[in-house]
């Protein structure tokens, strides 16, 4: 059986051709339907760039897709014409981003924005309003019918992220790319959003690609983990195995950075890059 998504030897460059910056340097990974994969790495390791590249959201130029293949459902994304890409985005691969507040259009109500998502990809839906209400209900927004006419600025950060998730799910995508979905939220809300994603993972057969710099989120959420460092995948495998027995020194350093419960520590650990390469 073919994978849902397979990325082979993908490389993306920025900057002048004679002195390029390789943001993504030949990465290869696969995702099966319904699987949860976490991509872990620090800022600048190329994880967000890889995620955006999955539907060619990175504008080229300035980005250049130098080599590689992205196969989604048997089709090569890098060779798709713009029309097909628009049908892929949102309908089959949906995104949620880091800052829910500014990812929502400030001048439209949230009901209107979810309606927009449904109208873009599901023109056959008869009762759109009912669909919007059930989407909001699905992400745990209480009294969704009266929230429809709210503007993004009237909602808290956690509520805004729930609305983003509702928008992403409204078109029933096969893959949800969550690009640091909890980074802009405080810790208790982080927990709520991760619990929501976990619950949705159970109720839909949707694959989730979670991008994070936080190993703490990974352990009880992802089936498998990919660790990225300087544009390369340095380690990949089942979550439990990687957490128990990290091979690459960078992975080890990253895991050590997460403070552990019950352990007395004067200083939080940082990464000593000299020891890695």
């Amino acid at each position: 059986m073919p994978s849902l998504l397979s990325v082979e030897n993908l490389a993306i460059q920025f900057g002048p051709p004679d002195d390029p910056v390789r943001a993504v340097d030949g990465i290869t990974f696969r995702m099966e339907p319904g699987e949860t994969l976490a991509v872990v790495g620090e800022s600048g390791s190329g994880k967000s760039v890889s995620a955006l590249a999955l539907t060619r959201l990175l504008a080229a130029p300035p980005a250049r897709y130098v080599s590689g293949r992205i196969n989604f459902d048997g089709r090569d994304v890098l060779k798709m014409p713009e029309r097909e890409l628009r049908e892929l985005r949102g309908a089959k691969i949906a995104y949620i981003f880091q800052e829910p507040g500014s990812s929502l259009n400030p001048v439209f109500t949230i009901g209107y924005q979810i309606r927009e998502a449904i109208e873009l990809h599901r023109p056959d839906v008869r009762d759109v309003t009912a669909e919007i209400v059930s989407a909001l209900d699905q992400v745990g927004i209480r009294d969704p019918a009266s929230r429809l006419n709210d503007y993004p600025h009237q909602l808290s950060g956690g509520m805004q992220q729930r609305v983003m998730i509702a928008m992403a799910l409204a078109c029933k995508p096969r893959l949800l790319v969550a690009d640091e979905p909890t980074t802009a939220l405080d810790v208790t809300i982080q927990k709520q959003i991760m619990d929501l994603l976990k619950q949705l993972k159970g109720s839909t057969n949707m694959a989730i690609l979670l991008i994070t710099h936080n190993f703490g989120l990974v352990s009880d959420f992802a089936d498998r983990v990919v660790v990225m460092f300087r544009g390369k995948i340095v380690e990949a495998g089942p979550t439990a195995e990687i957490l128990r027995n990290p091979q690459h020194p960078y992975t080890r350093a990253l895991i050590d950075c997460v403070p552990k419960l019950g352990q007395k520590q004067r200083r939080l650990k940082t990464i000593d890059y000299a020891g890695i390469k």
Partner: protein, 378 residues
């Protein structure tokens, strides 16, 4: 969960803007003032005319006012109610359209066969047997009463050939209001389109457009307008003047829209819309433009004011509308020689321009507040 959509009230985008606009008292009043001004302009011949509306002569009742109407005024009088009737009756299938076509054919034939009678006579002496318009003077009708100050007879006084200023202003409202409105519409269309495309796509189009705008901006706008009018030898053509004012005043709008678009494109929500599968046109029209609408509207209302003033400068220099057509700017510039003893010549047209500009500005500000949900309605 069993929810039916039609039980839930969802307010539409324009519906909400309309509601919020109406909550603003200044905007509401100013909008009505503008409507009244446009109504005065539209029905100018029925408000200021030396011919009676109804006159009882030897041959029974006559309607001399209608004989003096120009073809375009007849078209306006017939076609606007006709369009409204067709709009309201459009569900009755083909019947309203047939009636409309017949009415258009009848109007055009009779207009082609008849000519307006514009005799210099007036019906003011008929006394009780004639019903006159509120201002019983025509705009270009001279009288021996030169420089008479405002009185019950001449509400806004008379000028150097004894023409009634009130009558001239009522007719001049047509020129001034339509120049303000049409010129700004043209400027909006060109400026928002070009500025928006430049801000969204950047690249060579942006560079080329803005070098061109910088060149245009080097010329004083009035000089540019005079050159264009001179080249096309088309003074006294209201449509050319509107187009020229519009086509020379879009640069500021283009600059503004480009700046807004650059700022908005950098924010995450257009990217989020693209990730949902929205195309360029969808993003421009439904995400960027609604967010840039506030500053555009405010700038457009100032544009109306400046278009009216540019037209008056053109009239002043002798390149704008010339007699027999009058405009507020034209009346104002006629006043300059007599300003030291005939204050009313400048005061009333100036007041009319002031009221118009102020109303537009209030409407613009109210619209800006209505468009942005983050702003509280005053």
């Amino acid at each position: 969960m069993s929810t039916r959509g039609h039980d839930i009230q969802q307010e539409g985008y324009w519906q909400r803007i309309g509601r919020r606009f109406n909550e603003n008292a200044y905007g509401r009043i100013a909008f009505r003032v503008i409507l009244v001004l446009f109504a005065i302009a539209a029905f100018a011949p029925f408000i200021a005319n030396s011919h009676a509306i109804i006159r009882y002569g030897d041959n029974g009742p006559e309607f001399p006012i209608f004989r003096s109407l120009e073809a375009i005024e007849w078209r306006f009088l017939i076609y606007v109610p006709l369009a409204a009737a067709v709009y309201f009756l459009r569900k009755r299938q083909w019947l309203p359209y047939i009636v409309a076509i017949l009415a258009i054919a009848a109007t055009e034939t009779s207009l082609a066969l008849t000519h307006p009678v514009n005799d210099a006579t007036n019906d003011r002496n008929y006394g009780g047997s004639a019903i006159m318009p509120p201002i019983p003077y025509s705009p270009n009708e001279s009288s021996p009463a030169q420089f008479s100050p405002p009185s019950w007879q001449h509400w806004c006084g008379t000028d150097y050939t004894g023409r009634d200023i009130a009558a001239r202003m009522v007719h001049g409202a047509r020129t001034s209001l339509s120049i303000g409105f049409v010129a700004v519409s043209i400027a909006l269309l060109v400026g928002v389109t070009l500025g928006g495309l430049a801000g969204f796509y950047r690249g060579w189009f942006d560079i080329a457009l803005f070098r061109f705008i910088e060149i245009l901006d080097c010329f004083p706008p009035l000089l540019l307008i005079l050159v264009v009018i001179g080249v096309f030898n088309s003074q006294n053509n209201m449509f050319v003047i509107m187009a020229v004012i519009g086509l020379t005043s879009w640069t500021g709008l283009a600059r503004l829209v480009r700046g807004e678009f650059l700022r908005l494109v950098g924010q995450p929500f257009p990217q989020a819309a693209r990730a949902l599968g929205a195309g360029d046109i969808h993003i421009i029209l439904r995400h960027l433009l609604p967010n840039a609408l506030g500053p555009i509207l405010v700038s457009a209302t100032f544009g109306v004011a400046s278009a009216i003033l540019i037209e008056s400068s053109l009239s002043f220099l002798g390149f704008g509308m010339q007699a027999p057509t009058s405009s507020w700017g034209d009346i104002l510039s006629d006043a300059r020689l007599y300003i030291d003893f005939a204050w009313w010549l400048a005061f009333f047209p100036g007041l009319a321009i002031l009221i118009t500009i102020m109303s537009y500005n209030f409407v613009g500000e109210a619209l800006r507040d209505a468009v942005d949900p983050r702003l509280k309605v005053k």
